[in-house]
């Protein structure tokens, strides 16, 4: 099925990171080791084709920590399907990031 994105190793890693709770841009950069010049354009592309959606994090969280609210990205249904297909291709990714500490955006 065509998800509108190329299911390369890089995009698969980013999708997996998103699925396992790393939903902020810089967090994805941290955990995948990919450079920002790769991650952000990928995220833009994902959003363009509807594989992820993005939102500002909850105001309260940001306020509490005295900083500006960050933007976080969520996989859509199509995104999850794309991830499933990517995992079929790159089996090693299944266990990637699972079990690591996950900062959740909706922690209030």
């Amino acid at each position: 099925m065509d998800y509108g994105i190329k299911l390369s190793y890089t995009t698969a890693v980013i999708l997996q990171a998103l699925a396992t709770g790393y939903q902020y841009g810089f967090d994805i950069i941290d955990v995948t080791g990919l450079p920002s010049g790769t991650v952000y354009p990928a995220l833009r592309r994902f959003e363009e084709v509807g594989v992820v959606t993005s939102r500002w994090e909850a105001e309260e969280v940001a306020e509490r920590e005295q900083r500006s609210p960050r933007r976080y990205y969520e996989l859509t249904k199509a995104g999850h399907a794309a991830l499933a297909e990517a995992l079929k291709r790159y089996r090693a990714l299944e266990s990637l990031f699972v079990g690591a500490k996950k900062p959740k955006p909706s922690d209030a």
Binding site: Y24, G25, F26, I29, P35, S36, G37, T38, V39, Y40, P41, R44, R45, W56, E59, A62, E63, E65, Q66, R67, S68, P69, R70, R71
Partner: protein, 933 residues
């Protein structure tokens, strides 16, 4: 709660009631933040705020995190900086969005505009299509003949081996012995092969069907060197070419297989009889392959060792004694220089061996040292075509380039008019804050859209005209088989031409249109102050158009006159009402005296046909390929005369022509002095020592005998028969090879040839009507005899003019086209000028000016423009037509007739174009005109 765009809270209030955070204020002014602000400048405005927030938030967060972990040292700061650089790629990615949005907007708007003004769009697209189409059509020929590489593997590795110290021409060919030497140089070449250039047609019989076909003899390595694999069966290999006469195999070309055998898949293995000898078909080549000579598509290939079988009556030794063309594939690790040095050494060795150890004089040693072998790139194959057509093609490219320019000028004028009509709309948009750049871009998009449509239509035009052009090019007497396709390169060319055209005609009007003085434009005034400026640009464009059109007309005129001069040239014979028929009885087994006897019989038969005035035959035709004997010395009155002038490096060999009885009468050549051949001259001589009769032409007489009367003089070509030929008549000079040539000294011998020959039949009426009767007569004499080359002498003469005809026809067509385009341009500008002056005209007429005065006034305005254009055009033509000198015949590049007739023609047409709006001006009703303003 104050929410800004995107729902982001701008200010928030805590329970205590005062502002906790003002998200609008930048709290961190560290380097990464500043970088984001800097990069953010290129992000489209639509996304900019959100984008900056996102990046700043992330960087803030990370910095805070690092501070919390006490890791905020220079290393992590650097890492942060590095991360923020990624924002650049992000911003770049977002450019696409902006571009896409605005581009789509522009395109949609442009398309709407074009559809609204259908008439304008139609005219513009049509003119562009003609211009671009013409360019594409000519370029596709340029591509095939001059640029395209052979459709073989790695063509850039292919080289021709030639003598480097000799001027270009057949003297550069190498000996067969050397070819065999070169073949052994396996360290240098991946393969070496040779192929014959002159290949006589053969009689090909399969399943009882007989047809003349075009063969090509190639050495065993031919297909390997070119890297071509058979599509069906196999190709010729070295094994097939080892022993003379041992491997009668043949590889069919795809074209031939398709045409004659209807793609019979069982063709491999069948036997085909060539000139009576059975050959086996072993394969078929792939579709695009045509050999190594551009413009020649042989029907099939056979090994060179089958020479004797293909040419009955000759032996393979003849082939080995002649120079050959050598084609090789250089190994990639060997440099050209290395190969050249090696080969030169090898050549000198070979020559010394041939001489056989004789001591050489110092001059000859020196001469030998000069000789060298050079490598000539063969990636484009051999193309005699190139030499013949490269100049005409270049001229035509210039011509169509000018056409495109004229078309662009036309469209620019049209666009300018349209843009001026939209002054108000543009002014409003500018006033509302649109950037001028944006507007220009939008107008340019419209132009590009027009250009794109014009290009697409032009491509269609080019495709249709392909066949016509091919016919023009191929109407010479060597049939040319070109595969002219619209391939990727041609398409790219068309796209580039369209783009260039679009920018060319779109930029100036767009620029001018947006340079609007807002206030007067916003007021509802159709009389814009820019009107005058528009007119001046329009006027100068028209002057340019007229000048260009004149140049094209003059060029066309020169070519047409050149062609006319060639056609009316006295070729020394009378070409009308003569039918030519060629045949080669050797192909069906005739030998020696049998052939002469056959010819005699045929001559009688032909003479008896009704409608035939006289008949003759000749070994070499008129205005077809002739050859000279390779002679060194001629003996005149017993005295030897060197035929080689070392001063000029030229051979003054006389041409020889064997002719049958009544030849001169049949072809219409005039005997000036002495007599023509009689029947006695053809009869076998009783006394073998008596001299043979010979007739020479004027040039011969002049050249070898000067002022002394040549009648009765004798000459010969060998020491023991130094006076074997006696001149009995002098005939007027006639052209034998081409109309442009200088006549060569020629002598005519009476003989019923013993090889192939051409019959000439002078008829009372249209010669083509006799073709059936001639065929019938031949069939009655020998049903197996195949005829070829059946055409009229007039047609043959025409064939030699293929180049001139092509250039003449096409340049006339384009010249007239440019005339039309210029007329349209003049009309457009004058119409606009008149509309500008409607008020003035109205006033004048109200004040009592007669119509004729108004007419004269308008016409005068137009006349000035036209005369200016003609002036520039004449000057430009004077300066540039000298470049065409090599193509012209019989007229100078500044031929007075052309230079007078062309401007007059243009003047008349342009004045007519002016006349229509001028007349419309006189029809202006003064009341309406005055009221409108």
């Amino acid at each position: 709660m104050l929410r800004g765009r995107d729902g982001v809270k701008l200010k928030s209030f805590s329970k205590s009631g005062h502002h906790m955070l003002d998200h609008n204020k930048q709290r961190f002014t560290s380097w990464p933040q500043r970088l984001i602000a800097f990069i953010g400048a290129i992000v489209p405005r639509r996304f900019r705020t959100r984008w900056r927030r996102e990046w700043e938030a992330e960087l803030e967060y990370r910095e805070a995190l690092l501070a919390k972990w006490d890791k905020l040292d220079w290393r992590s700061k650097l890492e942060l900086l590095w991360r923020s650089l990624g924002a650049f790629w992000d911003a770049l990615w977002l450019q696409r969005q902006r571009w896409e949005d605005e581009m789509m907007q522009d395109l949609r708007y442009g398309a709407r505009m074009l559809l609204k003004h259908k008439a304008f769009t139609l005219v513009a697209v049509l003119s562009l299509a003609l211009g671009i189409g013409a360019n594409t059509a000519i370029f596709s020929f340029v591509d095939t003949v001059l640029i395209k590489m052979l459709p073989v593997k790695n063509p850039e590795q292919l080289v021709f081996l030639e003598r480097g110290d000799v001027p270009p021409g057949p003297q550069r060919y190498l000996s067969y012995a050397f070819f065999e030497q070169a073949r052994t140089q396996q360290e240098m070449f991946a393969g070496v092969c040779t192929f014959a250039i002159e290949n006589r047609r053969v009689n090909a019989v399969l399943d009882g069907q007989s047809e003349m076909a075009k063969p090509q003899r190639v050495s065993g390595g031919f297909f390997a060197v070119l890297g071509v694999n058979a599509m069906l069966g196999r190709t010729i290999t070295e094994e097939d070419d080892k022993v003379p006469g041992a491997h009668p195999v043949v590889v069919l070309s795809h074209r031939y297989w398709q045409r004659r055998f209807a793609r019979d898949s069982a063709i491999v293995g069948k036997t085909i009889s060539l000139n009576g000898y059975p050959f086996t078909i072993i394969g078929v080549t792939p579709p695009e392959f045509f050999g190594a000579i551009v413009g020649e598509a042989p029907d099939f290939w056979t090994p060179t060792m089958m020479y004797a079988q293909l040419n009955p009556g000759s032996s393979i030794k003849q082939y080995f004694n002649n120079p050959v063309f050598v084609l090789a594939r250089l190994k990639p690790e060997v440099s050209e220089q290395q190969a050249r040095t090696r080969l030169t050494g090898l050549w000198q060795q070979t020559v010394l061996e041939e001489i056989g150890g004789i001591e050489l004089s110092p001059e000859r040693q020196q001469a030998l040292r000069q000789q060298n072998i050079t490598l000539v790139p063969a990636s484009r194959g051999l193309a005699f075509l190139r030499a013949q057509f490269s100049e005409p093609l270049r001229i035509l490219m210039a011509v169509v380039g000018l056409i495109l320019l004229i078309a662009c000028v036309n469209v620019a004028n049209l666009l300018l008019a349209r843009a001026m009509a939209r002054q108000q709309e543009i002014a409003v948009r500018l006033a509302l804050g649109a950037s001028r750049f944006r507007l220009i871009r939008q107008l340019l998009t419209e132009s590009l859209l027009l250009a794109g449509l014009g290009g697409a239509l032009g491509l269609a035009f080019a495709w249709w005209s392909r066949q016509f052009l091919l016919t023009l090019v191929a109407s010479g007497h060597t049939p040319i088989a070109l595969n002219v396709t619209l391939d990727a390169r041609v398409l790219a060319f068309t796209a580039a031409a369209s783009l260039l055209a679009g920018v060319l005609f779109g930029l100036a009007p767009a620029w001018r249109a947006t340079r609007v003085d807002l206030t007067p434009a916003l007021k509802d005034s159709a009389r814009s102050s820019e009107g005058g400026a528009r007119l001046s640009l329009g006027k100068s464009l028209v002057v340019v158009q007229v000048a260009l059109s004149l140049s094209l007309l003059i060029g066309a005129g020169l070519f047409v006159r050149s062609l006319a001069k060639l056609k009316s040239l006295d070729a020394g014979f009378k070409p009308e009402n003569v039918l030519l028929v060629s045949t080669d009885p050797r192909l069906i087994g005739y030998q020696g005296k049998q052939i002469s006897a056959l010819y005699a019989r045929l001559l009688e038969r032909f003479k008896a046909l009704p409608g035939v005035r006289s008949v003759s035959l000749s070994r070499q035709g008129l205005l077809s390929d002739g050859n000279t004997k390779p002679l060194m010395t001629m003996y005149i009155q017993g005295q030897p005369t060197r035929l080689f002038s070392s001063k000029e490096g030229q051979f003054y060999r006389p041409f020889v022509s064997w002719v049958g009885p009544d030849f001169f009468e049949t072809v219409g050549m005039t005997i000036l002095r002495g007599r023509s051949f009689t029947a006695q001259d053809f009869a076998p001589r009783d006394n073998p020592n008596a001299p043979r009769a010979v007739i020479v032409n004027e040039t011969f007489a002049r050249h070898y005998f000067g002022d002394s009367a040549p009648l009765g003089q004798r000459f010969g070509f060998s020491a023991d028969k130094s006076d074997g030929l006696e001149i009995v008549g002098i005939v007027k000079d006639a052209k034998h090879n081409s109309l442009r040539e200088q006549t060569q000294p020629t002598y005519y011998l009476p003989a019923l040839a013993q090889d192939d020959t051409t019959f000439q039949l002078r008829t009372v009426a249209d010669p083509t009507r006799l073709i059936t009767a001639v065929r019938q007569a031949v069939r009655e004499v020998d049903a197996n005899l195949t005829l070829y080359g059946i055409k009229t002498l007039a047609a043959q003469v025409d064939e030699t003019l293929v180049q001139e005809r092509m250039v003449g026809t096409l340049s006339s067509f384009f010249g007239l086209l440019s005339l039309l385009l210029a007329a349209v341009g003049v009309y457009g500008v004058m119409a606009y000028a008149v509309s500008q002056r409607t008020r003035e005209i109205g006033i004048r007429m109200a004040l009592g000016a007669p119509r004729s005065v108004v007419l004269r006034m308008v016409l005068r305005q137009g006349l000035i423009l036209i005369l200016l254009g003609l002036g520039f055009g004449l000057a430009a033509s004077f300066a540039t037509t000298r470049l065409l000198e090599s193509q012209l015949f019989g007229i100078t590049p500044t031929d007075l007739v052309t230079f007078i007739a062309a401007p007059i023609l243009l003047l008349i047409v342009a004045l007519l174009a002016c006349f229509i709006p001028a007349r419309r001006a006189t029809k202006v009703d003064p009341l309406i005109a005055l009221r409108n303003e």
